[in-house]
Amino acid sequence: MRARLALLLEGLGIAVLFASFLASGGKYVLAGAALALIAGAGLLGALRARRERANFWLWYASLLVYAFLYIPLVIVVIFSFNDSKLNAEWVGFTTGWYGRLFADEAMLQAALNSVLIACAAAAIATVLGTMAGIAMHRFRPRILPFLVFTPVAMPEILLGVSLLIFFLNAAQPLLGAVGIEFGLGLATVVIAHVTFCIGFVAIIVRARLAGMDESVFEAARDLGASPWQTFRLVTLPLILPGVVAGALMAFTMSIDDFVITFFASGVGTRTLPLQIYTMIKVAVTPEVNAISALLMALTLGLIVLASKLAPDLMRAGAE
């Protein structure tokens, strides 16, 4: 029982810590009280019966970590409704920052670009990623997995700068020589996004195939189905949830990407993350909070949808 009380105390401490921030950009008195509560919870836990102590500390620490994960985001969302130009003190409720967002031409253009790029990148990456996933499952190639997974595993900046050099120093002069004008823009961003999105789709599709009974495909072949028929009538319907989850994942990754877009986009093409980056660097207003909150809601919905479609997705992602 005392463990419950201690955890309650800890939760209260976290809540006060949170409130201290909203009260006025981190009131030290309140923050101190919060830390006292959290420490008190620890003390109470330390006095507990020996047998359950390990379990208590596990809960105690985990609660703090979960709070660490969520409080910053909650603060961003709350201040998006704050009637003040500063993210420092709660003044009053307003939806004005959202209104300004929808009146901001540059922001709307960036949003449109983001959606266009994400749709195109997700569509291409889903087709190529599904093919890669099937090929890796069925034929166990040696080089393909390396090509598919390295862009996901390496620091994004490396992919970004190598594509920048490639687009401007190889693709542009080569295509220019045959009379095609080519520069950084929507197309280059889409290509760059496809490069790392293929991996996400392929992982999910392969995981889905791995969990399947091979005899289904053999049966189809024995019954005289051509490879194409087997794919269209057997394989595709079976892996479809994985394919859709992969497409949603690719869409999310694309619309969220900052680093690779930053290098592949050139000056003219702005996406939402690039717009946020500029705003953070130039002038921080709650308009950033508002666009952040909207983007959060969008990607949140997509991730939940994807995980509903493919529950093994999280696991596949973790491994």
Binding site: Y66, I75, L147, A153, S162, T195, L300, E319
Partner: protein, 278 residues
């Protein structure tokens, strides 16, 4: 099916993604290797390989490498980057362990939700997560410091430590702990002598997932840190978009690649070794 048509099928299915990635991943990487040996262009970028005008610098050179190895500044920035990455990894590990352990020991029906709660903050944009700490640390005068950089790095990378650790811990056989208890081991002993050593492979794969991306980050030091906190990622970004010395930037990117490969190799070797021991 005849092996020949089997091969055709293989290329029909695997060929398109293979070709796409060769052109847009492998080829750019190789071009970058060559670029690191070229001269910087007059107005930034790269100088031509073949001289277009007499007197113009062209062809190949190892100058970027000479500069890099000739000045201690660069080695120091690499060392600092490794320090930041190591500290981030360590903090992530300390924070991730209790959460991963708690999830692994919770009833099965709660686990998926608890994992989802770890992943959900990822639904927010990377920059939003960094921006959140700008708002929080600002009033406490903690912004633009090494501390803020580490907080940001930990915040952005924490789930990458929790997930592999959890996947590992979940597979442990509870019978092992029961056996240890029957043999008289206390809670601490059970943890340090059974759970902890068995979780080493999970820790190493988590460490790789955190350590590697940190090295290449530029936005977090730029937004949350001071000029002193620049790491390799910032130098690369600056070479490409600031000074526009592409050969130097390419060389730095290659150095980063080498560092990344070394870290990946080391962690997978350590994970393999701890797996055999356990």
């Amino acid at each position: 099916m005849a092996p020949r048509s089997q091969r055709t099928l293989k290329w029909l299915v695997g060929g398109p993604p293979f070709l796409f990635l060769v052109v847009f991943f492998l080829l750019p990487a190789l071009i970058m290797v060559v670029a690191s040996f070229r001269y910087p262009g007059e107005f930034g970028g790269l100088a031509p390989l073949l001289p277009a005008r007499p007197g113009e610098e062209s062809g190949l050179t190892a100058e970027s490498y000479t500069v890099f190895f000739g000045d201690r500044v660069y080695a120091e920035i690499f060392a600092k980057s490794f320090g930041v990455a190591a500290l981030t990894t360590l903090v992530c590990l300390v924070m991730a362990y209790p959460v991963a352990l708690l999830i692994a020991r919770s009833p099965k029906r709660h686990r998926d939700l608890m994992v989802l709660l770890v992943v959900l903050p990822f639904a927010s944009n990377f920059l939003v997560r960094v921006y959140a700490w700008m708002i929080i640390l600002g009033p406490f005068d903690l912004l633009f410091s090494r501390f803020a950089v580490i907080v940001g790095m930990v915040y952005v990378n924490l789930p990458f430590m929790i997930l592999p650790l959890y996947t590992n811990l979940e597979k442990h056989d509870p019978a092992l702990l029961d056996a240890a208890q029957d043999l008289g081991a206390g809670a601490w002993q059970r943890f340090w002598r059974v759970t902890f050593p068995l979780s080493l492979p999970g820790m190493f794969s988590g460490a790789a997932l955190v350590f590697i991306p940190v090295l290449g980050m530029f936005a977090i030091p730029e937004i949350l840190g001071g000029k002193d906190d620049w790491i390799v990622g910032n130098m690369i970004k600056e070479s490409f978009l600031g000074t526009r010395d592409w050969p130097f930037g390419s060389m730095l990117s290659l150095m980063l690649t080498v560092a990344v490969l070394a870290v990946a190799g080391a962690t997978s070797w350590l994970a393999g070794r701890s797996l055999r021991r356990a």
